[in-house]
């Protein structure tokens, strides 16, 4: 199957295979991405993140449904952690999205963080592009927001929603440094529980303390995702943020920066790979001669660079 061509023609299996190629770093992935790239840049990318148990998957399902009601097509990438001990993962986000499975306008893909954390954000970004090229209007990237890697993943998003729930106690203190600063909007899920208003107050206080505040003040919505309550308010907030960043050129800046970061990422990955190839089997020798002071690292690098750029 010519994966890229079939994908662009609307073949869902090809889309699925393309993401597998990206995830598994197959040789053909680069070639596929090369063909898809010209067709990207149309989708709006939404990041949904928050601590475990915040109800992100249910939220994602309801948000996707709401977009479907507006006639938009949706792609979803749900990222779950891989066990560092076994390398395995249980990817359970789909359970909350079963009602979307048979909707042809929705495509859901679960991904494990696997070993390479740096690589993951790169892979998610490419998977987003595959969905984008496939023609999805809205792409939702859902991750558990606990570490830097997840924060990196949502950098691929145009608008990032941070989901919190009442009753996390001091947890909010612990996570505020991590994910609060990446939230373009906040939403308090399970807001029918005690403590929802208190949580809203706490988020507000933290936003007040944020010294890097631009003139965008992240709005805070209250929802009960399981019952679909408040999803319309959340979507309205997304829309507000979207017109804000579109209007003041921020979206353009974000995408420019993303393109640049990506270029540098791919470039350094390429160079790294090239270095590994070129120095294959020679590294030990280099190190030995350095130890014996037969040469110095500066001259060595200079020589190697010359050799590689030929």
């Amino acid at each position: 199957m010519d994966i890229a061509k079939e994908l662009l023609a609307g073949n869902r299996l090809a889309l699925s295979k393309a993401i597998t190629a990206i995830e598994n770093e197959y040789e053909e992935a680069t070639d596929i991405m090369r063909q898809l790239y010209p067709h990207t840049g149309h989708a709006y990318v939404l990041g949904i993140t928050g601590p475990p148990g915040a109800g992100k998957s249910t939220m994602t399902e309801k948000v996707a449904k709401a977009y479907r009601d507006q006639g938009k097509t949706v792609g979803i990438i749900a990222v779950d952690p891989t066990s560092p001990f076994t390398g395995g993962a249980i990817l359970g986000d789909r359970i909350r999205m079963n009602s979307l499975t048979l909707d042809e306008g929705v495509f859901i893909r679960s991904m494990g963080t696997r070993g390479s954390l740096g690589g993951l954000s790169h892979k998610t970004a490419d998977a987003v592009k595959a969905l984008d090229a496939f023609g999805k209007d809205i792409i939702i990237v859902e991750t558990v927001g606990v570490g830097q890697s997840e924060v990196d993943i949502v950098k691929a998003a145009d608008t990032t929603v941070v989901v919190l729930i009442p009753g996390m106690g001091d947890d909010i203190q612990a996570i505020k440094a991590g994910i609060l600063e990446i939230g373009d909007l906040f939403t308090v899920n399970k807001s029918d529980l005690d403590g929802a208003d208190k949580l809203v107050k706490e988020i507000n206080m933290m936003l007040d303390l944020d010294s890097l505040m631009t003139d965008w003040r992240p709005p805070i919505s209250k929802v009960v995702a399981s019952r679909g309550e408040g999803i319309d308010l959340l979507l309205a907030d997304v829309e507000k943020h979207r017109s804000y960043i579109e209007g003041n050129g921020e979206l353009n800046r974000r995408r420019t920066k993303r393109a640049k970061d990506e270029l540098l990422d791919i470039l350094s990955a390429g160079i790294e790979k090239r270095i590994k190839e070129k120095t294959e089997g020679r590294m030990d020798g280099f190190v030995e001669s350095l130890k014996k002071r037969e040469t110095d690292p500066y001259s060595l690098v200079s020589d190697l660079m010359g050799e590689m750029l030929k």
């Binding site: 148990g53 249910t58 249980i90 359970g92 359970i95 909350r96 399981s226 019952r227």
Partner: protein, 548 residues
């Protein structure tokens, strides 16, 4: 002998066996001690903790006479295929000496779908009888006097609808509702936690349950309105302590919901019953049954201030553990069931279903069911186990284990209370996770050989594939669908529409008791699916919380 003297002798004993015992391999599921002595129960106050049968805290049994008065109800769970087939099996069981009926419904019925719903495809009549409307229910109990028999129905999410159908059939037989005896399972919380046949979210489900409590206390006073079930929690892999802890936590939630709905605790608590599993470890199970009675009595008295002794008595049905039956060497299952029966009887059960040897393979054949029933009869009449009340009381080991299980269960119940109760704990996935962890540990123990299952990981033999398994006729689904369509063509569809519209309005008013409306609807031959769909529209559907 004084405690000091016992201590001294025990130390001597330990020193003498230490060397010899080191030769035996360690098995980590064994009790910590190899020997129990009076020292292990020295803290027990007989009057307060153990007492007499029929006396608080009912550790020794809920009735003063127990099996010296009459045996437990030998109740065989049965039902498959169509109402006609199941009716035949019920009449066979009654002729064979079964003293109560227990209806198994197929999965579409349990989840409130009609047999012609696309989602029912392949499932109609498989694990129980298919009931679409009152018409099927009439056939199911044809020539069975509902004024005489006591009927247990394993039905949960749509329990209100099946109970209404039962009341309507009885009415046609000329039996008044206040004469009806039986039980509906009606325990939705364990469906979320372990069994999986839920429909609506917790809030409206709890409303339906309290509606039934209220309606029955006024109209069907001999009916057991709920069977709070640990059976399926254990089947899903929990330990003995978890089984009673999670179930009693569910029980607390039901009592709280009913009190919140304005019912007086003594008006309904006497009709609450429980449903336990009888697992393989005979003595642990006996201790579990005893501990469960003591815990419930204390909770009802101290926490809910019940006044009536009936409210404090934990009465229970027991089923032998299906998950402990093996597909390998299935005749060995007869022995397992016999031991499980012994546990249930020594634990003082009020009724018992014994599984058949072939249930790890398929639905049981008539011959297998007969052996299972005979097992109960042999235990009752020949074994002597039913001759005295609570025969294991006073065993150092069993009393100590009763204390241990009570303590472990109370720790769980405390934890669940701290989370905001059973509903909150289920919504968080806490109970599910605890059960799964135990299930996984059990499986790993079996695979590593730490736990021996005869015929499965030890003493295996080459076997011929078993013969004579019961097969449900593949055409059952088609037949049932045709029956349903014929019925729909004959009924008064205007009356159905009106009844469903009325039910919908009642659903929207939280203060309305739904039972009379459901009863009115089933009498028009509105189908189970139609009634449940009206409720789905208003109440929504539950979405599972799964954390692995």
């Amino acid at each position: 002998m004084s405690n000091e003297k016992i201590q001294e002798e025990l130390a001597k004993y330990k020193a003498s066996v230490e060397k010899a015992i080191a030769r035996f391999p360690e098995r980590d599921h064994l009790p910590e001690q190899r020997l129990y002595t009076p020292l292990d129960i020295k803290g027990d106050d007989y009057a307060e903790e153990i007492s007499f049968p029929g006396v608080y805290p009912y550790t020794r049994g809920v009735q003063p006479t127990m099996y010296r008065g009459r045996f437990w109800t030998m109740r065989m769970y049965a039902g498959f295929s169509t109402a006609e087939e199941s009716n035949k099996r019920y009449r066979y069981l009654i002729e064979s000496g079964a003293t109560g009926l227990s209806c198994a419904f197929d999965l579409p019925t349990q989840i409130g779908y009609d047999s012609d719903d696309p989602i029912s495809e392949g499932e109609v009549g498989k694990v129980g009888v298919a009931i679409d409307s009152l018409a099927d229910m009439e056939v199911l109990f044809d020539q069975i006097d509902l004024g005489k028999v006591s009927t247990s129905m394993t039905i949960n999410a749509p329990a209100s609808v099946l109970l209404a159908m039962y009341i309507a059939v009885a009415e046609k037989q000329g039996v008044a509702p206040d004469q009806l005896k039986g039980t509906i399972q009606n325990d939705i919380l364990k469906e979320y936690a372990a069994r999986g046949t839920y429909i609506f979210p917790p809030r409206p489900s709890m409303r339906l349950i309290t509606n039934i409590f209220e309606y029955c206390s006024q109209n069907v006073p001999k009916w057991n309105t709920i069977s709070i079930s640990g059976y399926h929690i254990r089947e899903a892999g929990s330990t003995a302590s978890q089984e009673i802890a999670f179930t009693i936590a569910d029980g607390i939630a039901y009592v709280e919901a009913a009190i919140k709905a304005g019912l007086d605790v003594d008006a309904f608590a006497g009709r609450l019953s429980f449903f336990w599993n009888a697992h393989n470890n005979v003595l642990e199970e006996v201790a579990k049954f005893r501990a469960s009675r003591r815990i419930w009595a204390k909770i009802m008295k101290e926490r809910f201030h019940a006044k009536s002794p009936k409210s404090m008595m934990l009465r229970f049905h027991t089923q032998t553990a299906g998950s402990m039956l093996t597909a390998q060497q299935p005749n060995n299952n007869i022995i397992r069931v016999a031991l499980q029966t012994a546990a249930a009887v020594m634990g003082g059960t009020q009724s018992l279903h014994t599984n058949s040897r072939d249930e790890a393979l398929a639905l049981p054949t008539e011959e297998s069911v007969m052996i299972a029933l005979r097992t109960q009869q042999i235990v009752a009449y020949e074994s002597g186990l039913a001759d005295v009340i609570d025969p294991l009381a006073g065993s150092y080991y069993v009393e100590a284990m009763t204390d241990r299980i009570e303590k472990e269960a109370m720790e769980y119940i405390q934890k669940i209370d701290d989370m905001g109760g059973a509903v909150a704990a289920i919504e968080k996935g806490y109970i599910q996770k605890e059960i799964q962890d135990s299930a996984y540990k059990w499986q790993m123990d079996v695979e590593s050989g730490a736990r021996t299952i005869v015929g499965v990981n030890k003493f295996q033999i080459e076997e011929e594939p078993p013969k004579n398994l019961l097969r449900v006729d593949a055409s059952v689904g088609e037949k049932q669908v045709k029956k349903l369509h014929d019925m729909k063509a004959k009924r008064d569809n205007e009356a159905v529409k009106a009844a469903l519209a009325d039910l919908k309005k009642a659903c929207q008013d939280e203060n309305e008791n739904l039972m009379p409306h459901i009863l009115a609807a089933v009498k028009t031959y509105a189908t189970l699916g139609e009634i449940c769909n009206v409720m789905r529209e208003v109440f929504g559907e539950y979405e599972a919380h799964i954390s692995l």
